[in-house]
């Protein structure tokens, strides 16, 4: 026997099923920064007069093999959907099909937007078809693809409502307390006052509260359906009538559209404007935070307010034009084209049956997982997601501990209507075995003591990170670190 035996025993005892993330260390840091590996200051000599140019430029200077290793190591200290399950509520983390990446890489897709329409029929054709497919899926009459993300879609919708109401002096937008933070921020960005609607006891819109909130000042009611608790707003027809009776419009936040694919359409429920999150519902990659795309659908009489240019069929194919009452621009060009292209490919791949199956399996998965999880889930019946309560545990700590079980944790502490919320959306891409693994992680963590939770995570690249310290003394660049 050698001296290693005790260590080996300990490792054996601590071993859990799951995952140990790669961890590259270098003294008191993990992988060094590019600038710490090699930096070089070069002097700048150009044909320009010296007073127009800088004297020198100092940036990292590494060879290609060194860079390949740098980024590969960093990628190993990052968790993606192909690493393991990613059940973040309201984020719809689906597997991103590989073929869509190949579609986005087709050389003919790499074109400049200032070409003449007749030389751009390929791009405009994809736009035209995707507009049409999204309109069908949402039950809308027209769709713009320009907004580069869901929040940009919201702003587009709010501006359309503002233009529609022009001269009416409607100053308020009503938003349920359980809505995404972007709804509030988008309304405020367009200059509206936000009226917050408290959720009813059943977690849905409380019609009495809505009655009290609604008035001739109401420009728009923004709703997510199913809402962030996974609940379908059963009174949607009545809600729609109430809003329309006072002359307001109804907006659909598409974050949770995956639950309804092929089964119910916002347009049929009375929604006038909606956005789609293609990086959720239509499986384009989240890219570590973006790019996404947030197309906006509208009913017929709002079509003329859409951002410019809009795309329509013409005698010779497709053309760009400026809608008569356009709200103007929401992106400098046509939006996140390469993201839209992936979504167009995904929708075509799935077709009616695939889309219907996606909503079926996403709802089955959420319900099955909820059934296997031994935590209180206060509301129901839910659809594609549920919000469990970590109860007497801190949800953020419970989430950190789940990382040690080789799964990404749910969204935590939101919506606030559930104490210590664990908002969970497995999507349709997980099979039973993975859902069982997820449930086991939930249940194992639920039985652990606070000390264990607070010491987590242990098996990720980094251990628990000091968030308070990061905000108290912000160091946001390697230059800031060098000043220390």
């Amino acid at each position: 026997m050698n001296d290693d035996t005790p260590t080996s025993d300990r490792q054996q005892n601590d071993r859990q099923d799951g995952y140990d993330q790669a961890r590259w260390t270098d003294g008191d840091r993990y992988e060094p920064l590019l600038s710490e590996k090699n930096s070089h200051e070069v002097s700048v000599n150009t044909p320009l007069p010296d007073d127009l140019t800088r004297d020198s430029l100092e940036l990292p200077d590494l060879s290609e093999p060194e860079l390949a290793r740098h980024y590969t190591r960093l990628s190993q200290m990052n968790y993606g959907i192909e690493t393991g399950p990613f059940p973040l509520g309201s984020c719809t983390m689906k597997y991103n099909p590989k073929f869509a990446e190949d579609v986005a890489a087709i050389p003919d897709a790499g074109v400049h937007p200032d070409r003449k329409d007749r030389t751009l029929q390929g791009v405009l054709g994809v736009y035209g078809t995707l507009q049409e497919h999204l309109a069908k899926i949402g039950g809308m009459d027209a769709v713009t693809l320009q907004p580069p993300a869901g929040a940009a879609g919201e702003l587009t919708g709010v501006l359309i409502a503002q233009a529609y109401h022009e001269g009416d002096d409607r100053t308020e937008i009503i938003i349920p307390d359980s809505a995404h933070g972007t709804n509030f921020a988008s309304a405020a960005m367009a200059g509206f006052d936000v009226v917050e609607l408290p959720s009813g006891e059943d977690g849905r819109v409380d019609l009495d509260a809505l009655e009290a909130a609604i008035s001739e000042d109401t420009a728009l009611l923004m709703l997510t359906n199913p809402n962030t608790l996974g609940l379908f707003e059963r009174d949607i027809v009545e809600i729609s009538e109430m809003v329309h009776d006072v002359g307001g419009l109804l907006y659909y936040d598409g974050a949770n559209l995956n639950a309804l694919l092929g089964r119910a359409r916002p347009g049929d429920m009375g929604f006038d404007i909606m956005h789609y999150n293609v990086h959720k519902t239509f499986a384009t990659p989240h890219g570590g935070g973006g790019p996404g795309a947030g197309p906006v659908g509208v009913r017929e009489d709002l079509t003329e307010y859409l951002p410019t240019p809009h795309i329509r069929g013409s005698d010779d194919g497709y053309e760009r034009y400026e809608p008569a009452e356009t709200i103007g621009k929401i992106h400098g060009f046509g939006g996140n084209w390469l993201v839209l292209l992936r979504a167009a490919a995904y929708i075509r791949r799935l077709g009616d049956e695939g889309l219907l199956d996606a909503s079926a399996k996403s709802v089955l998965n959420a319900n099955y997982l909820a059934d296997q999880v031994d935590l209180e889930i206060p509301f129901g019946p839910f659809h594609h997601e549920f919000v469990a309560s970590a109860d007497d545990q801190d949800a953020a700590d419970a989430a950190k501990r789940m990382l040690d079980y080789g799964v990404h944790p749910p969204t935590t502490k939101w919506p606030e209507i559930v104490d210590e919320a664990l908002m969970t959306e497995p999507t349709e891409v997980e099979n039973k075995r993975t859902l069982d693994q997820l449930a086991a992680a939930f249940n194992a963590v639920a039985s652990e003591d606070d000390e264990t939770l607070e010491a987590a995570p242990q098996r990720t690249a980094a251990q628990r990170i000091d968030q308070v310290g990061a905000a108290r003394s912000p160091r946001l660049s390697w230059q800031a670190l060098d000043k220390e």
Binding site: T25, R29, V44, N45, L48, D51, L52, R54, A68, T72, S75, Q76, Y79, F86, Y95, F99, E101, V103, D108, V111, H112, P113, D114, R115, I137, P148, A149, A151, A185, A188, M189, A190, V194, H286, G287, G288, G289, P291, H331, G334, N336, W337, I347, R348, E353, G354, A358, L364, H383, K400, N431, K432, A461, Q463, I465, D466, Q467, A470, L476, S477
Partner: protein
């Protein structure tokens, strides 16, 4: 994939698994789980027919093949630089591409470090203390700069000044952001393609919260009065927002040195190539305005082991915490494009960046001379220094020439009755001679 003949190819349930799961939740079929009232249920068909993977790829190749095969000499805010193979191969690693926003930083150190490095590169290029880790594009970054100005200069007024020569899309987005913040956008004149500082001086007043100028401008002119513009803005307590891009900033005077308070621009100039206008909004500003910055910020911290780590920070500025009082509504951003730009910048290194930028000056001068040699064509129209692109005047209708050049396989901008704009980078320079010959033919 033989277990499911119909349905989503990415829902992996076998029939027996599905049955076990249905049993566990106590229903006979998935449809029983939906709590949707009958009057809003959709029983129709969408009419989208499914395709095999092979069919979709073939179909998409065919549709995109409808684009004419043009050599593009197009710019005006969207540029094509050669993107090294390294960028695609590293950026496509699934750990980057398919990851989520780094709300669990312990398991996302890799991406956070890349974004921290991206922010640092922008700090070096701008000379300003803080850069965020991306906005959608240059236009939305300009809009965010204006709303930042309205917050930090709240008492001084409501006017934002922009140059009369500006990409229409950029102005359009700015106006939509400005309206909600009760700002008005006004233009100031330009003289020979650059800022008319005398006219700007007449236009500016103490009620101006921000002055915006570009270098290079939308016409490719390198602005020579940035110091003066910065001083003018400063003397009226207005912010000076400079629009540029990371390649140009590799050689142009540091924005901080000419008094810029905010730097915005199109950072997808690195890392992406032409993508029908898809971009990456660069946003850097002074440290004084840190708590007013829109979008996500990555900061350094320590973990329990005492090692340096990275995390999203100062999130109380953001919509998921501050809601209607957030600095912006942005949530999903362009993180993966920022990663691409960072890898591209690292791949070039300081020498490569300076060389790329210097080429954008020298090459443009040379090509303008070639174009100027064409009978009936004058280039550059503006007697200024140029970067990547320049304007040419012709005796002919610019629209007609644009169309004829397109027929001959070349893309250029017609920006006015007799003005063409031509952009040259390393990706189209090999076609310059042929292009100039063709220009000669169509202008005869």
């Amino acid at each position: 994939m033989g277990t499911h003949d119909t349905g989503s190819p990415y829902a992996p349930h076998t029939p027996s698994e599905r049955n076990a799961m249905l049993d566990a939740v106590g229903v006979e079929q998935e449809a029983d789980l939906f709590d949707i009232p009958a009057d809003v249920r959709f029983d129709g068909e969408l009419g989208i027919s499914a395709r095999s993977e092979q069919q979709v790829r073939a179909e998409m190749r065919e549709v995109l093949g409808e684009n004419d095969d043009l050599v593009e000499f197009l710019g005006r805010g969207h540029y094509d630089h050669y993107v090294p193979s390294l960028v695609d191969h590293l950026a496509d690693r699934q750990e980057f591409l398919t990851s989520y926003t780094q709300y669990q930083p312990e398991i996302a150190q890799g991406f956070l470090q890349v974004l921290f490095e991206y922010q640092s590169m922008l700090v070096e290029l701008s000379g300003l203390g803080v850069a965020n880790c991306s906005l959608y594009d240059a236009a939305t970054a300009l809009g965010e700069a204006a709303t930042l100005a309205s917050r930090v200069r709240e008492t001084s007024g409501a006017r934002v000044l922009i140059p009369e020569q500006l990409r229409a899309g950029k102005q359009g987005v700015l106006e939509n952001y400005a309206d909600g913040a009760d700002l008005t956008v006004e233009t100031y004149p330009m003289a020979d393609g650059a800022v008319d500082t005398a006219a700007l001086s007449d236009t500016i007043g103490d009620d101006v919260v921000m002055v915006y100028a570009e270098s290079p401008t939308v016409r490719g002119v390198i602005e020579n009065s940035l110091n003066e513009i910065g001083s003018l803005a400063d003397s009226h307590d207005a912010l000076f927002c400079l629009g540029s891009d990371p390649v140009a900033l590799s050689v142009l005077e540091k924005p901080a040195a000419v008094g810029a308070d905010v730097v915005i621009g199109e950072a997808a100039t690195l890392g992406l190539g032409t993508a029908y206008g898809m971009g990456l909004g660069m946003f850097a500003t002074r440290e004084d305005f840190l708590r007013q910055v829109p979008g996500r910020l990555v900061g350094a911290s320590e973990d329990e082991s005492g090692r340096r780590t990275y995390t999203l920070t100062l999130q109380t500025r953001e919509q998921h915490i501050r809601r209607e009082r957030a600095t912006s509504n942005i949530c999903t951003n362009q993180a993966w494009v920022a990663l691409r730009a960072a890898i591209h910048a690292a791949s070039l290194g300081p020498e490569g960046l300076v060389e790329t930028a210097t080429d954008c000056i020298e090459r443009t001068t040379a090509v303008a001379e070639q174009v100027d040699d064409v009978a009936g064509v004058t280039a550059p129209v503006h007697e200024r220094h140029h970067f990547r692109e320049f304007v040419a005047r012709t005796d002919h209708s610019a629209d007609t020439l644009e169309s004829e050049l397109a027929d001959a396989g070349f893309g250029v901008h017609a920006i006015d009755d007799n003005l063409l704009q031509i952009c040259v980078t390393e990706t189209n320079e090999s076609a310059v001679d042929e292009f100039v010959d063709t220009l000669q033919e169509v202008t005869q």
